[in-house]
Amino acid sequence: MIVRIEKCMHCGGCVGTCPQNAIYLNEVVLEFNERCNRCGRCVKFCPVAALKLEAKA
């Protein structure tokens, strides 16, 4: 997942929206863990388009 930190407003909405609990927000730092299965729900949720799926390697 690409986090565009200049767009992110640290609202945490993606954290609660993630069905895998793969996202953690510690005040202002958004982190994704290995549970992320690229479902894209957080990308769709983000009110300011701060999240972007990386192209598959």
Binding site: E27, P47, V48, A49
Partner: protein
């Protein structure tokens, strides 16, 4: 330094602070932790609340955290039809728009005066769990790791709800029960200074646009869009910007703050308790699915949480069996209404703009005494019964 408490509350929003207050008042030792450096900041709320909602939760009004009193409300349909209710003129109890950054601090201060200890810039990163029982919280405080033990850990950690997930409580919400929200606090507006306005229809797919006045020419101007209806990147912001551009009362305004966030519009969690753990507020999914309002429900639920935790502390028993009393008390107060409003929302989001126009026109012909979801649904039940037949037993 103390490392063991009866109760550790994770999250110092209104639900967390009200829980901490009532638990401490009943003699429990309470630690309230907040991951942010300032309680009440940054804002993720439209700040509207009914006066009755706070009263029910035993919160005494203090003008210091009231931005403005609301004279009434307007529902606007897609074609611009208006249903307007002047609550003040009708002699009703009026609503308010809060200053959340002050309200949240006032609630935390009340908890502190009752004996709760507070730590800011202190994030929970996990739970200590032994044999299916939550025993405490691990986390980071000002960059230093800590682990504190507790009889009960309270997840008052909002929509993000980590505590519930760590404890194995299912708090997952499906896309049709999530709204993605964006708001500006705007100034130099020409909208009515003491009316709340709700705009329905395809301008905010599956949700609504709002203007909640903050005093003078300033207001919270925002939008919620249902996640299952999102059809473009940054949809919430896009729809809001489009509306502001088109409305001459708003396009002259300028932003003072931007706010993003998520609101669950779901039924409540199936289970809000476990051994040594309970959930309260947004984390327990008690936001009203029609209005998206969460403060009143969260605070009322928190009164029950705090009081039951106080009793548990006296008895030295924080087992799931002991916490069942909390589960029963809050469900008796809130559950029927939450399910009714969820069903009403499920219906509302299927309606076309033309039907919404007709609903608003119908409501404006009804003699509605005060603006509440119940009154609006009851009026529709008599005039457009087919709309509410799936859940009319709740009305």
């Amino acid at each position: 330094m103390r490392t063991d408490y009866d109760v550790i509350v994770v999250g110092a929003g209104p639900a967390g602070s009200v829980t901490a207050y009532h638990a401490a008042k009943k003699g429990a030792s309470v630690l309230l932790i907040e991951k942010r450096q300032e309680i009440g900041s940054s804002l993720r709320c439209a700040e509207g609340i009914s006066r009755g909602g706070l009263k029910k939760a035993g919160i005494e009004l203090d003008r210091k955290w009231v931005a403005t009193d609301i004279a009434g409300a307007k529902l606007v349909s897609p074609n611009g039809s208006l249903f307007r209710l002047d609550e003040k003129h009708a002699g009703n109890e009026v609503g308010m728009v809060l200053e959340r950054h002050l309200f949240d601090k006032a609630m935390a201060a009340r908890a502190a005066r009752a004996g709760a200890e507070i730590k800011v810039k202190t994030a929970a990163t996990g739970l200590m769990i032994e044999d299916g029982t939550v025993k405490g919280v691990k986390g980071i405080s000002f960059g230093e790791p800590f682990s504190y033990t507790a009889g009960c850990v309270v997840g008052a950690d909002g929509y993000e709800s980590q505590v519930g997930r760590w404890a194995g409580i299912d708090t997952t919400v499906k896309p049709s029960d999530i709204t993605t929200c964006f708001q500006y606090r705007m100034t130099n507006l020409k909208s009515e200074p003491d009316f709340c306005e709700f705009v329905l229809g395809s301008a905010a797919p599956g949700g609504y646009l709002w203007i909640f006045p903050k005093g003078g020419d300033t207001a919270n101007v925002g939008i919620g869009v249902l996640l299952s209806r999102v059809n473009k990147p940054a949809a919430a912001k896009w729809y809001l910007d489009e509306w502001i551009k088109k409305d001459p009362r708003l396009s002259c305004g300028q932003p003072l703050e931007a706010v993003a966030g998520a609101v669950s519009v779901s039924p409540p969690v199936e289970k809000a308790i476990g051994n040594g753990v309970l959930l309260v507020g947004d984390a327990a999914r008690v936001i009203d699915p029609i209005t998206g309002g969460g403060i009143a429900n969260g605070c009322l639920q928190a009164v029950h949480a705090g009081e039951v935790l106080g009793e548990c502390a006296q008895a030295g028993d924080f087992s799931e069996a002991a916490l069942k009393k909390y589960e029963k008390l809050w469900r008796d107060d809130l559950e029927n209404k939450l399910w009714r409003n969820w069903m009403a929302k499920e219906k509302l989001v299927t309606l076309s703009d033309a039907t919404l126009d007709k609903i608003i026109e119908t409501l404006s012909e009804c003699d509605i005494k005060s603006m509440s979801v119940y009154n609006l649904l009851a009026a529709l039940k008599s005039k457009m019964p087919e709309l509410v037949k799936e859940f009319e037993e709740f009305i």
